[in-house]
Subunit: 237 residues, 2 copies
Amino acid sequence: MTSVGPVNRRQECEFCSLYELCWPAGATAAELERRHAIVGHSDALPAGKDLFRTDDPFTAIYAVRAGCVKTYSVDADGRELVHGFHLRGELLGFDAVFPDRHRCNAKMTAKSSVCVVPYRDIVQLSYKSARVHGHVLRLFSREFSRQLMIAEGSGGMQRIARFLLDMHARSSAPVASVHEFRLQMSREDIANYLGIAAETLSRLLAKLQQEDLIEVKRRRVRLTDPEHLHLVANGLI
Amino acid sequence: MTSVGPVNRRQECEFCSLYELCWPAGATAAELERRHAIVGHSDALPAGKDLFRTDDPFTAIYAVRAGCVKTYSVDADGRELVHGFHLRGELLGFDAVFPDRHRCNAKMTAKSSVCVVPYRDIVQLSYKSARVHGHVLRLFSREFSRQLMIAEGSGGMQRIARFLLDMHARSSAPVASVHEFRLQMSREDIANYLGIAAETLSRLLAKLQQEDLIEVKRRRVRLTDPEHLHLVANGLI
DNA sequence: AACCCGCATTGACATATGTCAATTCCGGCT
DNA sequence: AGCCGGAATTGACATATGTCAATGCGGGTT
């Protein structure tokens, strides 16, 4: 945890899903201090670091402040199934609300920092205000539905196109141009997320590049023909 | 809507996720009447009937009292992607909490009846009681996580095995023996749910039958070797 | 009871994808 | 700046799955 006071951190929070919870409009300085006392702010942690593991007791919701966290499970024969990636401003941990234990593992796929918000505090806050209550339910809903986006569409090509567009839309840190961004995870993670082999992913990315829809070099991606890519993503090609 | 009074309906509700909401322990008769006045109880509706469609405004959560409802979307080239099946006692409609409009279609795959609970009433009830509040969040969470169960496991065989075991566990109306049950939907719906072709589904079911793991005839299924089937479902075979 | 229509099954074939293996490439490290 | 090791790519091949088409079966209707 850093020693930076809440006020200095505020601008880092502007993109965050929890912004209205942490920075309620019209709150007094004392109220802000009180809220921030309950939120842990981690420094940047290295890639590969675990946030939580399956069966860990459920204590908190996490907000990604920078970097990327993957949630995943491992099946009987050791294959990793990536449920989703969580980029900056996004939440994770809701998976554990029902059974009170986490149902998956969470690990950073790149150098990342997160905020840790105790769940009991979220419930209490939301219980005290109808507006916050509705807000929490909506956050909840949004984070869950995010995970259902990619599964659609049978073809591997379609899923890759959809993934690239999704990542582009969610990547808040454009590199050079508006159509350029940086993937925050390895090819293997992406493949495990899309449910295809890493080799197939490589080949299909190469094919997209040959067809001049994208330029991809290592983790740097540039969408050279986004309209066309949308067609692919929708199975129209 | 039927004319059956709430008290007579109570035994039908015992399996339902909303039981504690509709039948709070220790409530007065007046309170029970009040609660039931806000819940619509449909008669049995025929297969093929729409419950809601994409972009419909969000008004209510539905509880399946009998039968089966599928939620699905249709992609650009007309393929149906089935998100999930909802059997008796289960809820649907939470998909619309965030954008305030439904994000998928819902249609009965068999003769079914449902309860209709206005969402604003759920929020109000849950806002008034901390216990109910926690309960709603947990329901919410459970209904979402149900949808993530099948996606796991790459092979089609694995997904089918998982599907059969899941349906068996959730089918509250055993036909003859404890290992026998009735599928509530067509092969096409199942195939669209599992992300494979209907023909492939047929072939793989036939294979499972040849290997004496199941007996399947039309919509009637009998798990003759559940332990073995579990191994298949976990990719151990 | 017999007929039909729709669902389900089966067959043949093309293709996409997984698997194993070799090779290249890049980024971080000293 | 140069080296090293892991990540990514590419190739060859086996296999699972999709697609199109024909056939079979059963439940609901008259």
